[in-house]
């Protein structure tokens, strides 16, 4: 090795040695997925629990409509109109029954308020007015109160900003350290409530609540994780095993009320139906193959009343939302197509009283 080697020789050696090192590794089993409840505490329990809670926020559908809203007359046929609440089908965002220009990947909504992301561009809006969120902290998710009146998000500069969605003005900023994601003690934004504006964080061994009016910060009285807020209360996770509705006061006292079904796929309607996907099948292009529900199981909370809705043959639900009491809209994806494109997604609508779903778009 006394002579200096040529760079090309070094490069070839590097390729060979790195391949050999990597190829000789015995890859350990993948640690518990953030989507699974850990069997026992281990060193990943904190970040995993936080991440699991976050995906529950991502995956959960909560009360889209005010609990006290009047009952919508049930149709005798399945309406063919475009979505009447903010909703994404494929990459198309529908607001006020019309599509919005651009391609949208993800959206959240409560009443007319929505949060959506275009590539590298988070936005929110009320109706068709679009506002950007340029100071949103990287890798964080804004939250909207269940009445759509308040939006909260983690700022790049630190802390949590709370906005009024009716005026766009800042209601307050909670100067709280959320921590970086490497930290097992990181706190993350989980929910905001309204009209009593309280911001909830999850992380560490439980959660924290900040009251906008009083400016007070308290630790929650329970180590159950607050996941998201609904008009019926905040959904708390019990280590990902049980889920409760509960209320919370400014002092951080949590009062659990109703036990709700496992929430990872569940959704609560304005009239207390929980919704869960079942009969999962593979769909989507090979590199993004996904398991999607072909059946929706509905359970009336506090009762044994159940309804099963089968999606039209050949279709799966990549996402869903309550459009009105007794009415569900679905981002439908065709099954069994290895080369399916987002343009092939279709709007599917289900009417609970009819126990039927139909493809209504495109």
């Amino acid at each position: 090795m006394g002579e200096m080697m040529q760079i090309e020789e070094i490069e070839n050696m590097l390729r060979g040695e790195l391949d050999e090192v990597a190829g000789s590794l015995r890859v350990p089993a993948q640690p518990a997925s953030p989507g699974e409840a850990p069997q026992r505490p281990h060193r990943w329990v904190v970040p995993v629990a936080v991440a699991a809670a976050v995906v529950l926020v991502l995956g959960g559908i909560t009360l889209a409509l005010n609990h006290s809203s009047h009952r919508t007359p049930q149709p005798t046929t399945i309406p063919k109109s475009l979505p009447q609440v903010p909703f994404v089908v494929g990459r198309t965002l529908y607001v006020d029954g019309k599509s919005m220009p651009g391609k949208w990947a993800l959206a959240a909504s409560a009443h007319d308020t929505w949060v959506a992301v275009r590539p590298h561009d988070w936005t929110w809006g009320v109706g068709r007015t679009v506002h950007r969120l340029p100071d949103l902290a990287h890798d964080t998710m804004p939250v909207v109160s269940s009445d759509g009146a308040v939006l909260a998000y983690a700022r790049k500069a630190g802390g949590v900003r709370v906005l009024s969605t009716s005026t766009g003005r800042t209601l307050g900023t909670w100067h709280v350290k959320l921590g970086n994601q490497e930290s097992s003690n990181a706190f993350m934004l989980s929910a905001v409530t309204s009209p009593q504006v309280r911001v909830l964080l999850i992380g560490g061994s439980g959660g924290k609540v900040w009251s906008l009016d009083g400016g007070s910060v308290h630790r929650l009285s329970t180590n159950r994780m607050p996941l998201w807020s609904t008009p019926a209360g905040v959904v708390f996770s019990d280590n990902g095993l049980k889920y409760h509705l509960g209320t919370i006061d400014d002092a951080g006292h949590v009062h659990l009320t109703t036990l709700v079904p496992r929430a990872d796929l569940a959704a609560l309607s304005a009239d207390d139906w929980s919704l869960r996907g079942a009969s999962m099948k593979l769909a989507g292009p090979r590199k993004d193959r996904d398991r999607v529900a072909t059946v929706l199981n509905l359970l009336k909370l506090g009762t044994s009343h159940q309804v099963q809705l089968k999606l039209p043959s050949g279709w799966g639900a990549s996402s869903s939302n309550w459009e009105a009491p007794g009415r569900i809209i679905i981002d439908g994806v065709p099954l069994g197509h290895a080369k399916v494109k987002v343009s092939q997604h279709r709007l599917i609508r289900c009417v609970v009283s009819l126990k039927r779903c139909a493809v209504v778009g495109g």
């Binding site: 090795m1 590794l25 993800l106 959240a108």
Partner: protein, 175 residues
């Protein structure tokens, strides 16, 4: 709040992706960190971040590139050894098994010990260039820097490795 996208399938889609991505993620993490325990921590940290941002990851043009960026930046942002940051008392025995012969095999390699001694950013460039076979532009995108910085880091790394080899005892490799 109502989340519309990723409702009925977020978790399963993530799990499927993570299961498929885990082996390569672990291998790259090992090449970056040089230790099994750190590699496992690093890969798992990256997956937790992927999980937290699954909507964004799955919607990106190249989820693999997005995940690679997360993994590399997690590695670069760890100023202390990951093991030290993560250590907690546990009643569990280590569950990472080192394949017999791995250490001996690595000792026979000429460059690998010197790769492990490179500064983190140079090492990342080396792994991305010569293991992942990325272009300079792709590496720049992954690291969030210019192609000029990639070239500079690669140049320094290769020169360091070449100098290290010229200083190595000739009989040290074939034992």
């Amino acid at each position: 709040m109502t989340i519309m996208q990723s409702t009925t399938s977020t978790t399963s889609a993530y799990e499927e992706y993570a299961a498929a991505a885990w082996p390569n993620l672990y291998r790259v993490a090992y090449l970056l960190s040089g230790a099994h325990a750190d590699a496992e921590d690093l890969a798992q940290q990256a997956l937790v971040k992927v999980f937290r941002n699954w909507g964004r990851v799955s919607a990106s043009d190249s989820p693999d590139a997005y995940v690679r960026r997360i993994l590399t930046n997690t590695y670069l942002s760890s100023r202390r050894p990951l093991r030290l940051q993560r250590e907690v008392i546990t009643d569990r025995l280590p569950d990472t098994v080192v394949e017999p012969g791995t250490a001996a095999r690595e000792q026979r390699l000429l460059l690998w010990p010197h790769v492990q001694a490179l500064p983190p950013r140079q090492r990342a460039v080396v792994v991305l260039r010569y293991y992942e076979d990325l272009s300079e532009q792709q590496i720049a995108d992954t690291l969030g820097c210019s192609t000029g910085t990639v070239k500079s880091n690669a140049h320094k790394a290769l020169n360091t490795l070449r100098a290290s080899l010229s200083e190595s005892p000739a009989d040290g490799k074939e034992a």
